[in-house]
Amino acid sequence: MHPGIDRGNAVVSLRSVKKAFGSLQVLKGIDLDVWKGENIVILGRSGSGKSVLIKIIAGLLKPDQGTVNVLGKEIDRLDPHELRELRTRIGFSFQSSALYDGMNVRDNLEFPLVRNKRHLSRKEIDQAIAKVLDDVGLSQTIRQMPSELSGGQKKRIGIARTLILQPEIMLYDEPTAGLDPVTSGDINDLINEVQQRYNTSAVIITHDLTCAKTTGDRVVMLSEGCFLRQGSFGDVFDSDDPRIKNFYTYNFISDS
């Protein structure tokens, strides 16, 4: 458990959140608090509603019912301008990295900075870019195009692009998906470094048990739109629930 966690100070708070797409009920009444400084991992199978949940927290999707409070603001009551302001305090690392294909690494990192911190000088922008690239260990890629980067490098640059605005909350959508075990380990280490160096709270969506064990201060198991169990990694999997046992077993088999 990270020592900087401030229990009692929730940076994300969800109450009775429901979301459906047509007749498919994806989230069936989610309650969740993410404490300041905490890395919380939401584990679940594909289609369990993890990505929908993280997109609701980022304000990319609206819940059908319930309230979503992020950094003290009820996200579905904000106007577009207020939402954009709030988003400067939230970093979102996409499963696909979502780097802008037409821009090189430098321009990808500069993009959010010049739009949200218009007062910065050219020198300050260059310094900020150099710092985040150094933090993710990819200073040498500054002139490269996204198509020239490996999967792991893309993930790191995607994370650097969110860190450049110095967010208070990081949202990671499947940060290790599609990566080999060694690169996945590097990304897990980076997530922990970000928590310590930038003093962020994080919601990490994954189905990778190693990622959950390495990065999570708390783990929540999501299945069919409901939370089954939460606690430390050991607590969650010390369960007789067949859904949790199956998840652990199949994950173990597919990893070995």
Partner: protein, 249 residues
């Protein structure tokens, strides 16, 4: 039928949003200029080539019919009317629909399916303003410029054919050509091209911005952008010519 009505409603909403966002600051000047370059400068070569060939070939084809009546001296006027009133705006719009419209559909479509548009949104940038408004403004403003340019190049192609056969001087050719062209014709060329440019930008952006279903959706967005904008351009041409003629006579 219900899907079609919903689709039309979505297009209407998309268009309203364009007009709302286009006039509210902050403005994405840099991206608009970038798109002016992409749509304008990068299309110059193909517009020059097709414009010149259109003028040359159309004159060559018309010559034999006019020669039967000994009326080849009417060629400059005939070509000016055909090029300024119809060919230049129409051919330019069709070329830009194929070249730029498909590009906008594919580019925005691939950005949509690879979550780049959502990435812009979460980094506090308005993706609609950055991607859509800039592209529609660029096609709307640049197509009239390209159509005027194509009109000039096509007239040069026509002149080349006339000069080869009748040794008409440059001054004499253009004097005869513009005798039958009024300010109203030039104004209509610009107005038509504005409408076509807006249509191309709207069709490409709407289909790309709302793409789904992975790479299949990207291909579909590019294809639909071209087909829809070409179809609409012909419908608009028909309507504008009707209205234009009712003013003329």
């Amino acid at each position: 039928m219900k899907d079609l009505i919903l689709r039309i409603y979505d297009i209407y909403q998309f268009m309203l949003r364009f007009f709302r966002e286009a006039f509210i600051p902050p403005y994405e000047y840099k991206e608009v200029l970038n798109q002016f370059y992409e749509v304008g400068i990068r299309s110059l070569a193909i517009i020059t080539l097709t414009g010149f060939i259109t003028g040359l070939v159309f004159t060559k084809q018309s010559r034999s019919s006019l020669a039967e009546f000994g009326a080849t001296s009417w060629l400059p006027s005939l070509m000016a009317i055909a090029i300024i009133r119809a060919l230049a705006p129409l051919v330019t719009a069709l070329i830009i629909a194929g070249k730029v419209g498909s590009n906008i559909g594919a580019e925005l479509g691939s950005m949509k399916v690879t979550e780049q548009i959502e990435a812009m949104e979460v980094s506090s940038t308005n993706p609609f303003k950055f991607l859509v408004v800039s592209r529609i403004l660029a096609t709307t403003c640049i197509v009239p410029v390209l159509a005027s340019y194509m009109g000039f190049v096509a007239m040069m192609g026509a002149y080349l054919n006339v000069y080869r056969n009748e040794q008409t001087s440059f001054t004499s050719f253009f004097q005869q050509a513009f005798m039958k062209i009024s300010f109203f014709d030039i104004w209509t060329l610009v107005f038509k091209s504005l409408v076509y440019g807006f249509t191309i930008g709207m069709a490409g952006s709407f289909n790309g911005y709302n793409a789904s279903q992975g790479t299949v959706g990207v291909g579909r967005a590019a294809n639909t952008s071209v087909v829809v904008s070409m179809f609409l351009i012909f419908v608009e041409e028909m309507i504008i010519v009707q209205v234009q003629n009712s003013f003329r006579f």
